[in-house]
Symmetry: C2
Amino acid sequence: METPLSPIDFARRARRLYPDRTAVVDGSLRWSYGEFFDRCDRWSRTLQHMGVGHGDRVAIISPNTHSHLEQYYAVPQIGAVTVPVNFRLTSDDFAYILKHSGARVVCAHRDHLEAVDTVREQLPEVVHFVALEGRKDGWLDYEAVLAGASTEFTPASVAETDMISLNYTSGTTANPKGVMITHRNTALNIMGHLMHTRITSADRYLWVLPMFHANGWCFTWAITAVGGTHVCLRKADPGLIFETIAREHITMLCAAPTILIGIANAPEELRRHAPHGVRVFTAGAPPAAATIERIEGELGWEITHVYGLTEVSPIVAISEWRPEHAGLPATERARIKARQGVEYLGNAEVRVVDDQDHEVPRDGATLGEIIIRGNAVMAGYYNDPEATARAIRDGWFRSGDAAVVHSDGYIEIRDRWKDVIISGGENISSVEVEGVLLRHPAVQEAAVVGVPHEKWGETPQAFIVLKAGATAGGEELRLFCRDHLAHFKVPHAFSFISELPKTATGKIQKYVLRGGRANIAAQ
Amino acid sequence: METPLSPIDFARRARRLYPDRTAVVDGSLRWSYGEFFDRCDRWSRTLQHMGVGHGDRVAIISPNTHSHLEQYYAVPQIGAVTVPVNFRLTSDDFAYILKHSGARVVCAHRDHLEAVDTVREQLPEVVHFVALEGRKDGWLDYEAVLAGASTEFTPASVAETDMISLNYTSGTTANPKGVMITHRNTALNIMGHLMHTRITSADRYLWVLPMFHANGWCFTWAITAVGGTHVCLRKADPGLIFETIAREHITMLCAAPTILIGIANAPEELRRHAPHGVRVFTAGAPPAAATIERIEGELGWEITHVYGLTEVSPIVAISEWRPEHAGLPATERARIKARQGVEYLGNAEVRVVDDQDHEVPRDGATLGEIIIRGNAVMAGYYNDPEATARAIRDGWFRSGDAAVVHSDGYIEIRDRWKDVIISGGENISSVEVEGVLLRHPAVQEAAVVGVPHEKWGETPQAFIVLKAGATAGGEELRLFCRDHLAHFKVPHAFSFISELPKTATGKIQKYVLRGGRANIAAQ
């Protein structure tokens, strides 16, 4: 007998089994699962009254609040689709995503009502604007509507391959793309978490990670599935984090490494009352050894590094602890913890392949691209078959991440695949060469790209910004590189420039360096 | 993107990630996952050479050995179907199951070659007889075949709804029925285990539970999925259990309560060297409080009670530990541990309903039948649509177990549903009334059944065997029952007989008591 794999089924179970357990804490608000699902049902009822039905989009622009969390239950259980939007984007970005997704309802937090209003005229398809918190003309008051609504709604009949969520990528080089995530994608990612992260009903989860971010890595549903407690945090401020951890007896959180650095370096008076044993999951970039050491050694917390992308629902790998790690020195353990690790159970197959699609050897040195197939992979990009075809080729999703595989099968990302330089058949990580250059005392910034070469295919070229007042020539840097790198990785040319081309958010634009080499070098 | 949910995928992952970890220990034999899968592949190749393909049946009659375990990988990965047979059955039972399942290959352990040979003439469809251990004329030597085989086989393309296993029920009242279990059924049961039992690569699992029994509750695959170690035990003898636990540093096992009683009451010299912290899973009947107390209190192990049936792949409920249990007195904790508990995540929905299919209240008293729907439920009984239609009605599998639901949602079985007496709209557990009668000093044995009644529908009638030399009349027993039971549960009639009708294995035949009341009462 088959019934649809869906987080709706996990919610059904939670409402039966955990009605009296605390579902969500948001400041002084505190709701049991019974109360929480009652609120979700009222909102489902209201949405159905508004005419929202199967496949319709409901967009959310909000920090981590209880009403934000409610959307992940109220919307799918009537067969509609959530569109979680990064609230840090501009009004123009909001307009693009709301239009592209075809949202019929927009739910926004008080901080974002104004920004949406400035683009409201561009959104004729949006039928209802709902203020999840705060009041404003032209906005429905969520709490007032809920108070007047019945809990009687018509549960949708969903197929597991129906879309549950349309998550937009950050779009650094082009417009954001809408990633179509299905109920089955999500259910298997949640089950992956539950198998790998040992979440139980005893867990009290702190919402540091934004809920909108690839749907909060599905912890929006995973915590509920086991009857744990969601503790909302509206701002990822270290002081607030420590205060909430102590007050709410937090056992677990997810956060980007940049937030972990803030935690690791928080003042002693903040850290003093932190409970031991908090489990911390991180992704997006490997946590630095110093961060791991301070958080594990000094705070007595446990860091686990996981890996994923919005397109794979989103987590597909974990730097899994194994009993054989217990005997290793701390530095080696930290090195393993910083790796992206091994594939999750049951949702994906993860490989690292060269440009002929052959798996790279497990030598910790040969670079390849991470490719992924299986139940974690999205249904595709919404309304963009070309981008989908580029991303999923021969049945494998191309992550764009360049990685090595260690002898134990653990994957470690070294670069973006498009920034890898292929010279004489060898793959060179631009990040590795840049790392060496940055160790030279005269170098302020460095960017390495591949340039065409008759014999080698490509060779590395370095673009260098020197420190104010410092001097160093190409030959000096070349010799420095030869001392610290395999010979084939040493740049063939060094260009000294006053500034690296960057995006508004500070990312180096390597495509500018590749395309406009002559121009920049001539500056 | 959808790929089939299947234990084959978990095995694929294990062979990539854990090639050097110990897969299986069987006496002095010890194989890594690399070696284990190499053996499986050789056998897959051989089966394909024998002409075994998609959907073909391979039967297994064997205790818990490494070669038995190998079948659960070698057979499904070529799309064939395992038929695990209870080796304690008679030759005639073997013949029935082998014929009914349409087995093309029979793999048997040395202890069972003779028994199969006595019915070989009844099995014209079996093409190959394979001795997994031992040698005998007319039997292929498994080890010799493996030694000469290549590992190159053609992996099957399976759909997740394809059958992986045909498990025969014990058939106490009729012929055994073949339960069709799919790849999806199995994958979700394994994931259920991994979410609820916290198995990791550090686990060393002792095979006390027979592997054939509803496929070893899927631990045949769950242990492999995380890279744990299978430790084979060929006989569930307490001495051997303790010796192997100590020698192999066992962390986890599954066993029926009757085996646990043997463990609890083993001599002190056996128990002395047992490691602490072994996780024990039990099912089939609730563990007795005394057993829990001895095993948890004295050995320092942890008992978890799970619930299932072959027809639901097989585990669908667990007496889940919750943080709120920590503060309870030990007797109350033992009482909770003895309950069947709450539904597993992601594979089934479990309800307890009255004969109108309404859920019973959570009062710990009202009896209903446990019904189950969802991905755990079998595809049906093989070649028996009538039995399938009786078992799965209105989309729910009828377990035949009568249970109450406690206020926390935990289910507790009280009787077989067919033995429950419905009197004046109230459900009466025959087991409860029998329990009271057995506390009367004159009563040796008691069986309570429902008899038709004009006003009440049914009323309870008790059949009593008195102790040798003891005397007690119906009125005395009636008053005794009134002191210890709700009034409506007190039997309306007491029949004193010399012996209760029983099956060969000692089970009371209540249908005889119901049908032949007058006759027996007249004795």
